[in-house]
């Protein structure tokens, strides 16, 4: 009993971890399935067919390519704009600062269905054609908020004396920004960019409102496919995405701890 009480926290942590990992494990496991029908919901037989032909289902890799393209473009643009907005909000006092703060927060608070439908109305009124262009504009818009929030926290924590010290030591404003401000805010910017990418890659509702038949993103493809049958390739690509995310996170952790060790 004592032993259990002592390790209660460890048990709880383990239980949470299992709870969170089980879906991923199931996805990975069923990527090696060879279903008998069109639906990949029951374990039938081990097979690596789907891993050998990940693009074996028509349209799947096109939709993946489009999602990656939109995700990367949206996160790069949102990160650049969002970082500038965060610095402006964190560093300067200007007219309309409070309302900008509020507006930036709006997309995070608005239900996606509402935002998706109103964006569609707006695009139709303005004559913007549905499709990947409209999707990209919408994604940049809601990713921006998350980048601003992530970077602003970092800018607020940055000691303004550090920039004064750099100027005092003879660094021009550009040198100060590149050598002091940017490296110190980089973790916030990177977090914002990753968040933006995964939000964009993942988005279904807003994307669906503004898509055209020629702009089927990966989430839309998966949803559309599930009504007709679920190809095993979906599990393969899902597993690959999970592994990529895992490598990024673990890599980031290792880099951080190695830096600390090197400094020790």
């Amino acid at each position: 009993m004592r032993w259990i009480r002592k390790h209660l926290l460890a048990f709880a942590a383990l239980a949470v971890l299992v709870y969170m990992l089980v879906p991923n494990v199931v996805v990975a496991l069923f990527s090696f399935n060879k279903p008998s029908g069109r639906y990949n919901y029951e374990w039938t037989k081990f097979s690596t067919d789907a891993w050998q032909h990940p693009c074996g289902t028509p349209g799947i890799c096109d939709s993946l390519g489009l999602s990656l393209k939109i995700g990367i473009t949206a996160s790069v643009v949102a990160t650049i704009l969002g970082t500038m907005v965060a610095f402006a909000l964190g560093r300067h006092r200007f007219r309309g600062r409070a309302s900008t703060n509020l507006l930036i927060f709006m997309p995070m608070a608005t239900p996606e269905v509402v935002m998706g439908s109103s964006l569609l109305t707006l695009f139709v009124m303005m004559g913007v054609p549905s499709g990947s262009g409209a999707i990209l504009i919408a994604h940049i818009m809601f990713c921006l908020s998350f980048v601003v929030v992530a970077v602003k926290a970092r800018v607020a924590a940055l000691d303004p004396r550090l920039e004064e010290a750099a100027a005092d030591l003879g660094a021009t404003p550009v040198q100060t920004f590149l050598r002091v401000t940017l490296p110190l805010t980089a973790p916030g910017i990177a977090a914002g960019a990753l968040l933006a990418f995964s939000l964009s890659f993942d988005d279904y509702i807003i994307t669906n409102f503004n898509a055209s038949p020629s702009s089927i993103t990966f989430p839309m493809y998966v949803w559309g496919a599930s009504t007709r049958g679920t190809p095993v390739q979906i599990n393969v690509i899902g597993t690959i995405m999970f592994l990529v995310a895992l490598v990024v996170v673990i890599g980031g952790q290792l880099l951080g701890s190695r830096r600390q060790r090197a400094a020790a």
């Binding site: 750099a166 030591l169 003879g170 660094a171 021009t172 020790a264």
Partner: protein
Amino acid sequence: MAGHESGDLRLAGISKQFEAFTAVHPLDLTVPAGSFFALLGPSGCGKTTTLRMVAGLEEPTGGRILIGDKDITDTRAYQRNVNTVFQSYALFPHMSVVDNVSFGLKRRGDKNADRKAKEALELVQLGEVARKRPSQLSGGMQQRVALARAIVNRPDVLLLDEPLGALDLKLRRQMQIELKRIQSEVGLTFIHVTHDQEEAMTMADTIAVMNSGRVEQLGDPATLYEHPRSTFVANFLGQSNLLRATVDRGEGNGVVEVTSHGHRLEVRRDHVPAGVRDIWLGVRPEKLRLGDSGGPNRLSGQVTDVSFTGVATQYLVRMPWGRELVVVQQNDGSGRARAGETVTISWAAEHGFALDASQDADAGAQLEDDHG
């Protein structure tokens, strides 16, 4: 910038206005090249603003700043050959100690930046932690890194903004001596901003005492202590006993006779400002003696408090008119007194100083207590 000819720092009518608040009134100050100069005053007196104007981090509302014959008023912080040791140290957390120190040299394209940075770290006795991050060092070590980062550039003027404020008392004493040693070794002009009067007196050749955006008095530590010219300086630098007195006509050999609460007292003529009749007669606590041995000036009162501090004993003696005088006696075997006892205290004419009575007797007193 080795071998750079630096001149005196001159502030000519410099002032700073923040909207409705005047942080620094027009101020004239000359800091001779190579000296250790202190700006001393309570928080909010304008000393840090003055320092930041010299550094180029704050733009003066009026006046000029010159180093030698060069007017630097309109130059930006990064264009000035002036470096600052910040109160919070402001070390770059993402760089190693040696990269912090070589930062300024590299901005100037110095080919030997790394070698010079290591030498500067040796000077502050931190050569062995060059590769560490600032966050891995103790407060005292960080303080020395900040100092090395500034002096390695051989600035015309080195500014120190309360650099020892974050250190504990023992370390602070040690760093005071260290700073003084480094200053004489490198021969740079140091301007030290502090609210700690003891620190200013220990280190500086010249002190400017500031109060409410103005310089109250400027001089070497001994002159400021022995001959304060205002009640603020008298109370802010150490303690003072101030007695309300009136100058009499009587003129002795070099002394002026005054009357305070019915007692005839004397004070040296050159310690009395010319043309003043109503004065505060000031005496430092350690100049007072218990008993008659101190000199011709005598007062008697009742001991209300005795505190033993090791080297000395401090007495509070209540005068018949209610004010308590502070008497500090060295514990050198001379006579002691107990609480409740009635004692005579005495002092010599040359130990008194006189201040214009139109000033507040308590100016600067409680401020000094705030900071211990």
